[in-house]
Symmetry: D2
């Protein structure tokens, strides 16, 4: 069940005869990372042309818009606003005309010290267009007019703390950057061009490459500035190599299951989370394993395969539900959940049910789902969560609530179980999660689960 | 994979303090049966108020629209147009003012002799508003001004051949009718009202009842006129009881998996289709069973359970794909399928794969899917179809192509296998399908599979 | 000042290579007769294609719409709704498919016995699409399937009482009809076609001909059915010749000043109304003559020319005022008038002013205008109305209020003068009006001024 | 006839309980100065809320928008874009958050050295939001964070050359500024508030005050910074007093006839232009004086009064013509003029006609008008222009073409007369224009007529 909201995705294409159109398709594939606004900037012989709008990729662009976005380089963005203000002026890519020419910037992440940097820039006379924290970087670069762009970036990036996977476009370069800890994903690909050769593409997730037939080459490395220009691909580091801090929640929930994220297939990782969960919290004599669709499905398949308990679609999701619907005047019990999820009596009645969800944040949705399952005749509900208890907010680009709204910070395990009215409740352990994901535990950021924040927080509260 | 398009769904509410709002929600749950236009007519103390629009239920109605649709009786409709013309004047419910007062009509099905009846009415001076075949019934009733509505209906319905599940609303009655063969579903429910009592609701599928907390009572019987007025519920027959001809394709593809259709849970029936398919066409040493999402999922679960071959989401569906998207200029291989479906290399590579789809019509989509699966590394593709070969068009409300476009009418089984480039191909047998669905075989209409059309065709070509 | 609202205008073109486009332009020129909805139906080789919308001609049609409206015959309409319901289903031209083929109908006027005829048709089983009274004629014709269209029209029209200037389009004919008394205008023209020959056009006013370069030929005569088909122009009468009853209010207010109406130039007639008014109600030692713009301008020019008192634009009209504007929360005195009309202190201060308006209905607007003029420093206000006191409603297509809202029916001349706070008040006499208009007095309908209604009223109240 | 386009109008309100609503109404009255975009910024207890849109004031704002624009200070703008790009990001008022708080700026005019200043700012690292030249001033002020706003303005304004009438809003001040030469108008008024006291309003023209019932107090003086805050009204100069250079074209064409501009009523000035024109270029035995509506009407009244030749509306203007209309495919002669202007045969036929227009720029429109008048039967056409020949472009905020498109720069008087096909042609002399306007000739800028540009042109070409 959808609890959390990712902030953004970026996509860029260089030397592509259909640059804007490939960007459009890339954003289409990345829509799950942001549904509030979108923009594409195309580079037509050094001139930047932009189209932005509020809403979904499929609604914002028309054929005419794409025809207008001429040129063989383009940069795009989809955005979910965490500030509550979904204004067109905050839609990315941000654009500016600097003394060196036009610049466009698309960003995924969150700068932890943005408020400090912003105040500092305003005191130096900078005028900000919107409330995007990345606008800071534009101003930093603008204030080094004599420097080469890559040098200006290196000088600027070291002042920025937090998570940032960014793509920039100048008159003649497409640039991709990941913060030194590599919180958010960012990948490089090659798209074969009819007639020979290939374009260079960058994207937040590999699913964007699959749609346009591009080949995944590698990740942008944490602390790397990667760019491509008429002389080919280049790379410099603005920070020495060290431990990464890949966001583990990309595996747990955010990324599309068919993406490679941090080098791993998300669907397989989620199944593995379910398998480990089955080892840690088996349910004896269970009749069926039922996912909370869609996000709980892969873990439920893993749980079923590990435990041998049959996997069943005991809850059907209505995919026609849009972003809004009109409420009934009188109360219908659990209506907000029911509009999307419908439990099936024929599957559930009299059964001992293992229910699998990807995570458990506030507990209110789980409570409603369990109530619906019981109304549909389930005899026992054993709730299993394919991630550990959520204990703290995220400062790196995820819209996780503060502690006072997190049930795991407010209630004991048993109180939580009672609150959601489950017969038993089991969360995956932090170690189990690291095991399922694989690699070195310390190369992940799991701060929302273990409160080990890998950066200074600059006065922000948990 | 979505091949076919259902024409419509209806919903009605009587004696409900939130009649229009419940109708809105009922249509929301029935959206899968028609996405082109929708309408609601409310009865406010004998006066009919209407709101119609092109598009999805979630987009057509605003809070203000529902507030305007006052009254405790309402009738609604969602429509898929099979004529190629999605015009607002064809949106249902149809409305008319007769000498007996206002009348609204919502219809699901197809009248086989509509062309003959329409010409006849025009020659008698009738003026038709649109191209809906049900408008015929309005004119028939209008021409019997001296008769009671139920009598007029009985006289009229006997002239209409084909499939019709309809709901009508007069000043003081909500009426539900099913054709004598009962091609399309239509169900009756009761919604408990705060403060006591219940409203009476009718709907095309039970999933509409689940959302609003209504209790399923029974189906409207084939050949029955059911109505409810201030004196309660009433029933008359306009045709003697006989064999039903329930559309088997409702089980195979149309209905929502969480609905009861013709008294059976659709998800369970689809799993059973998969189970029988596994018995009829097993695959030795298969590694995984992969559904074509979403419609192939339940049958794949059944196939997996029966065969013991693990169920895997080897193809991921992008649910953000809207009704339209802009094409790339240059060709991207299998683009039209790829925008919705993305096969996963990590799941498929080197595997012997059983692929399950609900049906196989033209073969072109299956061909593209198999091509994508092979590109993603699948070693062998064993294509299994959870219904028999589609051999003829439907004249009872489904948008099935004519024979010249049906691959099973044009090619042998082996030619078809070659065309879609599968290693093996297996269709569920007609008998297997009847077995899986249960009940008496002859109570189903499977004309699209076995060419046994249960009515005269009035000159229409296969 | 705009008080009253005309109901409609019609335009048709036959044998014109740009039929829809000429209709669009003709409606553009006739926009003053109806601003609520508009429609064009084109005849493309016997098939009727329609486009309708709510709003102004300039907003409803796009280039694409006009390109779609193929064919060399077209029919158009602009509408002002008098019923309070501006619904798209009431937009004209009305269309129907009869046994003889498609029919489109556009109407200007009002059928006095429409309610009686409508009830009669409903009792015979007719289903009405909207609340347009002309839909009756469609049903009458539809019920004579065996008859030729012209014969069917002749049989039908004799049953209709009231005002109707109509144009109809069948598969192969453009037909124009005026009621026997000729209340509303309707004219015939020829448009020269590049390469030779001419198309035949019909319109409510000649200003539509001027825009498209068509030549005015003649009026459709009262009681005439005029039609044009591949064999040329034809004419038959459905009623014997008699006195006409041309609506005198077309001269006074409705028609565009640059039109010929009933054979007379409207601007010249209005100037003449002003001249006669100056003879009947001179003002001694007046300083200036000031029109209430725009409708009072021609009469004020005439008054000025006759009296020798200088004509001055003492009130400036803001032409950017659209159909709606947002009110201030607190009251601004006479705001509703001020948003459109601004008196000029520099012109008015200390002056003895003759103010000319075209008519005086409720008195409230005149009261506000005079109040503004006094605030702007006018010393004396001598209000002169270029038509007689309005004493009764119109039943022939004009939205005049009932008697209880007409100040001349409720107050004496002197009470009216006091109410509007003028120093003196003079209305043109009925005889003066007839003199100014010219021709025989009895050939005009001036029922709103003299209560001589030329038809039975079928129970409608004054 | 509308030839030229003014760039903008501004409106501001301080200490007004309905600040945003009064600004809306003020902009409504100023719509003639800019129809492409509009914006209002309201100050709600120190916070700035904005609403901007493309189009007319009546279309851009809804009741909800105005309710949201809370606070008792507001600033508004209407804009005509001279750059060809009508983008929302160029819509004014411009807004910025400076270290001293929010700032909004609305501007009418043109900065002659904007290109130089802009490049200089970009080289200093400024990032510009749009292509408005006034954004320069925002950056200048932003770069003096330590200074008081008024001091910062004084330091900044001395660097700006050209025409600027501006209004600014900070957290607590409404500021109005006019450039030292006072090219464009800007006026101060007081609006009485219910319950006592008054708000302070500023506007481009006094017609905005008339609508809201505000009293005209005085002009903002050239070189003055006027502001109002909680301590009352204040004034400082940033330039010593000298000759003004009031744009004479405001009198000739731009301003609404009911406005006071530079202290004079525009309608009366235009009549006087017509009177002097009649003295300079009388026409013997003329039958009628006909204005090109609407802009030629006041001068034609003056010409008629001076010459004794009767004033007649020989050309009728269609006020329903919107900003766009669809062209016919085949050519209709003079169509572009005809859609707005229709000459009347009944008025013109056989007459010796004096035609009055406000100005003559390219000659193409006049040519078409004369052609239409001749088609309508005029015997002789004596074209009289109520301003001198237009000889050069404007660099101070008017969209006048360059010399190569000005007929008076390309052809002699007689060639021009021939080109437009008039029998005689007379332009008002420069001296006659100055006489009609009154005051000192040198206090006007008439550069478009006499090429005496009052500022350096910074490399711009004539």
């Amino acid at each position: 069940m959808h609890h959390w909201k990712e902030e953004c995705a970026v996509f860029g294409a260089f030397n592509d005869p259909e640059a804007a159109r490939m960007t459009y398709l890339g954003l289409y594939a990345l829509q799950h990372r942001g549904q509030e606004s979108t923009g594409i900037v195309a580079n037509n012989e050094g001139q930047h042309l932009a189209h932005k709008g509020l809403g979904l990729v499929g609604d914002v662009y028309t054929e005419e818009d794409l025809l207008r976005l001429k040129g063989n380089m383009a940069l795009g963005h989809v955005r979910y606003s965490t500030t509550g203000q979904n204004l067109l002026e905050n839609a990315q890519p941000l654009t500016a005309v600097l003394s060196s020419g036009p610049l466009a910037l698309a960003h995924n992440g969150n700068i932890v010290n943005s408020s400090q940097l912003r105040q500092q820039m305003i005191h130096q006379g900078a005028i900000f267009q919107g409330s995007n924290d990345t606008e800071i970087l534009l101003h930093m670069i603008a204030r080094m007019p004599q420097q080469d762009m890559i040098q200006a970036l290196k000088s600027s990036l070291v002042q920025m703390q937090g998570a940032y996977s960014m793509a920039l476009m100048t008159q003649d370069r497409l640039i991709a950057i990941r913060d030194p800890l590599g919180f958010r994903p960012l990948v490089i690909g090659h798209r074969p061009i009819e007639g020979g050769g290939h374009s260079v593409v960058v994207a937040s997730e590999t699913c964007a490459f699959d749609l346009i037939g591009a080949k995944y080459i590698r990740e942008v490395e944490p602390g790397e500035i990667f760019w491509v220009d008429k002389d080919g691909e280049h790379s410099e580091r603005f920070s020495s190599k060290g431990h990464t801090k890949n966001c583990i929640f990309e595996h747990v929930y955010f990324a599309r299951p068919d993406s490679l994220v941090f080098g791993k297939n998300v669907y397989e990782t989620r199944k593995q989370l379910g398998r480990v969960l089955a080892q840690e919290f088996p349910v004896e004599d269970a009749d069926i394993v039922v996912p909370v669709p869609d996000s709980g499905v892969p873990a439920a398949i893993g749980y079923s395969q590990e435990s041998g308990v049959p996997f069943e679609l005991g809850i059907i999701r209505n995919h026609y539900v849009g972003r809004t619907f009109i409420q009934p005047s009188q109360s219908i019990r659990s209506f907000g959940v029911k509009i999307k999820l419908n439990p099936q009596r024929e599957v559930l009645e009299g059964k001992k049910v293992v229910v699998i969800d990807d995570s458990l944040v506030r507990g209110t949705t789980s409570q409603k789902i369990i109530s619906l399952l019981r109304q549909a005749g389930a005899k026992e509900i054993h709730f299993r969560v394919a991630s550990p208890p959520t204990r703290g907010p995220c400062f790196y680009g995820v819209d996780t609530p503060k502690k006072d709204q997190l049930i795991a910070s407010q209630k004991s395990l048993d109180e939580t179980r009672e609150f959601i009215h489950a017969d038993t409740l089991g969360y995956l352990s932090v170690e189990g999660m690291f095991n399922a994901v694989g690699g070195q535990p310390q190369s992940n950021c799991a701060a929302c689960f273990d409160l080990n924040y890998p950066t200074e927080l600059f006065g922000q509260t948990l």
